[in-house]
């Protein structure tokens, strides 16, 4: 960034910690951006003359006589149509070798949409994956994370969902992406010929973790530009939010804040909500949908990060390795799309809700039968039928490699009910059984 004439420059640091420096300065405003010894930093605390700055790259090697230059404004992004197809770092600077983007300068982390001006989300986003479309239908304007263990192919699933979704722009916010994953996304988007509708903000594992804190706001500022100004349907992908939260805890720790659960800052809920709540259906047709990834520690959803996330997002998609079929499935018990009620049976067939619930309930019966089997008990005829059903259900509907239209998912459901159960065992409304059932 270039130095401007009116910028104030200071050269004496009062204190240095691993993530922050303190300098005596006048006329500094809260949240303002600065450079410390050439590294970007942001004002996080003012106390009298003392200004504390968070240095994104870390403070290794910063001398007490470093030059501190205040910019007089918070972090910003230049927005215009030219953003499309470009790759940026956490500061919004191009990393694809192209020229900087010209456009209107917008401060990131801007205000919230007035809840009264929002519209109720109502557009189904089909993905072809039955674990999503059938059981946990996505709706535009929704915010939903994948809960996955680090060894699961969440980035691949997310890329697949993004490319199949019918949206105008896809914005990738990559936090702590491995270089391999970054290249995977780049390659996948390129080979799908979709690059012109994709914008990426990427912080890889090679870069300092605190920088990640800027990624979601950068991505969402771009998203708001396209959704609000251009009335476009925008899909934002955020991966991995657990690494984002880890960066938050690093900063709060360095600022001597009292940690709450799992050494996370007490404001974790609000910090995450500020990001996820940017998902919106706007009155003029534009929308922002957020699909995120929260990696779990061995499936533990009671940890503060997935726990707070679950309270904020509109459901979660839980990836699990199914030992019966050897496939990765979308766990029907732990997954949920809170907005599915807005579209199922309305934009899909009337039997959607009952087929979905019955299929899951029978799958639960199978889980009980499995426990019985493991405990060495005899299985009833019903138990055995449940187990057979579960295997086929998992294979044909829950697995993430499924790619069929919703109608076909429903037909498959009825086919399985007819194959393994009596109509009474399904407990479905009689009228629907008559109309769609596959019993003789």
């Amino acid at each position: 960034m270039t130095t401007k004439a009116f910028q104030r420059i200071y050269t004496k640091l009062e204190a240095i910690t691993k993530a922050t420096v303190t300098v005596r300065a006048e006329g500094v405003s809260n949240d303002e951006l600065a450079t410390v010894d050439g590294r970007l930093a942001q004002v996080v605390k003012l106390k009298g003359d003392l200004v504390t700055l968070q240095v994104f790259e870390g403070t290794e090697g910063i001398p007490t006589d470093s030059e501190v230059i205040f910019f007089g404004e918070p972090p910003a992004l230049n927005v215009s149509e030219d953003l499309a197809g470009r790759f940026f770092n956490a500061y919004g600077q191009p990393i694809d070798g192209g020229a900087p983007v010209e456009g209107e300068r917008r401060f990131i982390g801007g205000p919230s949409v007035n809840p009264y001006k929002r519209k109720q989300p109502s557009q189904l986003i089909p993905t072809g994956i039955a674990g999503i479309d059938l059981n946990n239908t996505l709706v535009s304007g929704q915010k939903i994370p994948f809960f996955a263990n680090p060894d699961q192919p969440y980035n691949q699933v997310m890329a697949m969902v993004a490319l199949r979704a019918d949206v105008d722009k896809i914005i990738l916010g990559g936090m702590g992406l491995t270089n391999d994953d970054y290249l995977y996304f780049k390659h996948t988007f390129e080979s799908a010929g979709a690059l012109n509708k994709i914008i990426s903000f990427v912080n890889t594992t090679e870069q300092p973790p605190v920088e990640r804190l800027l990624i979601p706001d950068m991505a969402l500022t771009a998203a708001e530009y396209f959704a609000v100004d251009k009335n476009e349907k925008v899909l934002v992908l955020l991966t991995d939010m657990t690494l984002y939260a880890d960066a938050l805890s690093i900063v709060s720790n360095r600022m001597d804040q009292i940690p709450s659960k799992d050494s996370m800052p007490g404001s974790l809920y609000s910090d995450l909500a500020k990001i996820y709540e940017k998902a919106v259906q706007l009155p003029d047709g534009g929308s922002i949908t957020i699909i995120a990834v929260t990696t779990l520690n061995d499936g533990d959803i009671t940890h503060a990060i997935p726990d707070n996330t679950g309270y904020i997002t509109e459901g979660q998609l839980f990836l699990r390795h199914d030992s019966d079929t050897g496939k990765v499935i979308i766990d029907p018990f732990r997954s949920l799309s809170r907005l599915k009620q807005l579209v199922i049976g309305k934009q899909t067939r009337e039997d959607h809700s009952q087929v979905m619930n019955t299929a899951v309930r029978l799958y639960a019966d199978a889980a009980n039968a499995k426990t019985k089997l493991e405990n060495g008990f005899d299985l009833s005829d019903y138990d055995n039928r449940c187990l057979d059903y579960a295997k086929e259900y998992s294979n044909r509907l829950l697995a993430i490699d499924v790619n069929i239209p919703i109608e076909q998912m429903l037909e498959t459901g009825w086919e399985l009910f007819g194959k393994y159960f009596t109509p009474a065992e399904t407990g479905i409304k009689e009228a629907l059984i008559k109309k769609y059932g596959k019993w003789q």
Binding site: V28, N30, S112, V113, P115, P259, E314, S353
Partner: protein, 587 residues
């Protein structure tokens, strides 16, 4: 207050939304002040004073604030405006009207008026000149929708007053003078339709607060039948995410037997509020046949709105409830979620570097929560009428673990406990209210038992207790079956288990998205419980557990079909016939 008397100050420190202000005069705890950011005024509240330094929490983003920025103190605490037009309005936590804001985005420092002061209302006086009056005295009435809205002597008036003059029946603006009162010293006071009240102070202008003695019907069977909540009672719904807290709350809001509903969306998802905005105007109140929105006020401070205003939002909502209660109305307050409010307290306490209590929450969390719950209740007004505020809050326990400070503190304060269970939610048994862990203390109140006897049926409470017992015994049997295996236990264990399943599937589970099953009036609940218990109480001889399982599965299936049919319709009676036939034949 006179402009010249106002205390002013300058900003000396900023950490996030905690700002330190050096003041030049007296300030009081919880006083409201405005920080000037250029032309924009940011509303803030004093939360601590040390010497001439006041710590204030800013209800807005503090981005761009500088040391030396000016602050002006207002001389009063956070107040709300009370008057006609509150119903069907949508406010933020500070009572700004969200509907009258222009921009799609919330603008910092944009404060809109809560009540349309120029709107005209047809006023009918019910007091006359010369009457002796006091705070909360009904001077007259206007119609707000279909509700009689009393115009009262403001709650802030102390002592006795005499009405000097009162306007005749006619159409007046909300801000017009309705009456002139004279106090003991002969000073005159003007009363309009609008009054102000500080939200953190409970309105206590009533004669007494008796124990709750009526049940509030919600149409939700697992509440009404199993653990009823009293009108003027308190309850809370803790549960991990995804267990259906919000769906349950919305069901109560739609069907609850109350004159006025206030919903405080405190730190929760914006789309949930949008759902209310979108659906409520379309829905019909089952008790009056009017649009649901007409009796609803929404206080909405969603999770992305400024944290400090979250705390204010629950108090704003409660104050509005107390206002309507003083008119002799039955009010239901739903707050989703009180945990977010507690977290807002925690964030602030943390920034002030206070010594933390458990899980870094402030040490006075428990007393703050119980003080708040204590503002609910039935009251007898001075004129002999009664009103009630029923309060149901949700709690979002971290990690779904009920042994955390907010749940534990709330448990001490609330009388009904509706525990949502992850296990039930995983099995899609909704509402996921655990029938064994949940309780209603009101079932122990003799006045409530008497009320249920006369309202539902003389042996109702015995039936409920029997059903509860069956569920408990069924759970024990289920555990035995799991340990010993299907063949390892007598058939009677299976029978016990399946009786509890029958009650679970037919009484406890309810489809909130089915137009008929979503709401069950008491009459139908009584019918269903009697019918279910009749099946349970009939002795049967099963050859083996498989026969028992098959029998109950079929019974459950027919009952379920019945739940989806309109009460006392042809198909309803058909299913009863089927049940009678099936359960008799097998005898």
């Amino acid at each position: 207050m006179d402009q010249s008397q106002k205390t002013t100050g300058i900003v000396t420190g900023i950490i996030s939304n905690l700002v330190t202000v050096e003041v030049n005069g007296p300030v009081s705890q919880n006083e409201i002040c405005y920080i000037y950011l250029g032309e924009t005024k940011l509303m803030s509240e004093v939360i601590k004073v040390t010497g001439n330094k006041a710590s204030v929490q800013v209800y807005e983003s503090t981005r761009g604030l500088k040391k030396g920025d000016k602050v002006e103190f207002e001389g009063h605490m956070l107040e709300v405006e009370l008057g006609p037009g509150l119903l069907s309005s949508n406010y933020d936590g500070l009572q700004n009207n969200l509907a009258t804001m222009e921009d799609v985005f919330l603008k910092r420092g944009e404060y809109t008026s809560a009540i349309d002061k120029d709107k005209k209302w047809d006023f009918t006086p019910c007091a006359k000149a010369g009457d002796k009056v006091y705070a909360s005295y009904w001077l007259g009435e206007i119609k707000e929708g279909w509700l009689p809205h009393k115009i009262m002597v403001p709650f802030s008036f102390t002592g006795e007053y005499t009405i000097k003059s009162i306007v005749a029946a006619g159409s007046y603006r909300a801000c017009d003078t309705i009456a002139v009162l004279t106090d003991a010293n002969g000073d005159e006071h003007i009363v309009t339709m609008i009054q102000k009240w500080p939200v953190k102070v409970a309105i206590t202008a009533y004669k007494e607060k008796p124990r709750p003695y009526r049940v509030m019907e919600t149409g939700v069977r697992c509440i009404d039948t199993f653990n009823p909540i009293a009108e003027g009672g308190t309850g809370f719904i803790p549960g991990p995410f995804g267990c259906g807290k919000t769906v349950l709350q919305h069901a109560i809001a739609k069907q609850g037997e109350a004159d006025v509903i206030v919903m405080a969306a405190c730190g929760e998802r914006a789309n949930e509020v949008v759902e209310i905005f979108t659906e409520f105007p379309e829905l019909i109140d089952p008790h009056t046949g009017r649009s649901l929105m007409e009796r609803t006020t929404i206080i909405c401070n969603t999770s992305n709105m400024p944290v400090a205003a979250r705390e204010a939002s629950v108090y704003t909502a409660m104050t509005i409830c107390e206002y309507y209660r003083s008119m002799g109305l039955r009010v239901l307050l739903l707050a989703d979620s009180t945990s977010r409010w507690a977290q807002a307290l925690r964030e602030m306490s943390n920034r002030m570097e206070e010594l933390p209590g458990a899980d870094a929450f402030p040490v006075d969390l428990s007393s703050t929560i119980s003080n708040f719950y204590a503002r609910a209740g039935v009251v007898t007004l001075y004129n002999g009428e009664s009103g009630a505020v029923t309060f149901i809050g949700t709690v979002s326990p971290a990690g779904g673990n009920l042994k955390e400070p907010v749940t534990e503190s709330t448990k001490k304060a609330a009388r009904c406990f509706y525990a949502l269970s992850q296990n039930r939610a995983d099995k899609k048994r909704y509402p996921a209210v655990d029938p064994i862990d949940s309780y209603s203390k009101y079932l122990e109140y003799p006045e409530i038992v008497d009320y249920l006897k006369s309202k539902v049926s003389p042996d109702w409470v015995e039936k409920v207790l029997e059903a509860k017992n069956l569920v408990l015994r069924g759970k024990e049997a289920y555990e035995q079956i799991n340990i010993l295996g299907d063949d390892g236990v007598p058939v009677s264990y299976h029978e016990r288990y399946w009786k509890s399943e029958l009650i679970d599937f037919i009484i406890l589970q309810q489809d909130a998205f089915d137009s008929i099953d979503c709401s069950t009036p008491f009459e139908r609940q009584e019918f269903m419980l009697t019918k279910v218990l009749q099946v349970c109480d009939t002795p049967r001889n099963f050859e083996g557990f498989e026969e028992c399982t098959k029998f109950y599965k079929e019974v459950i299936n027919i009952f379920k079909q019945m739940n989806y049919s309109e009460y006392k319709s042809e198909s309803f009676y058909n299913y009863i016939e089927q049940i009678d036939k099936y359960t008799r034949n097998d005898n």
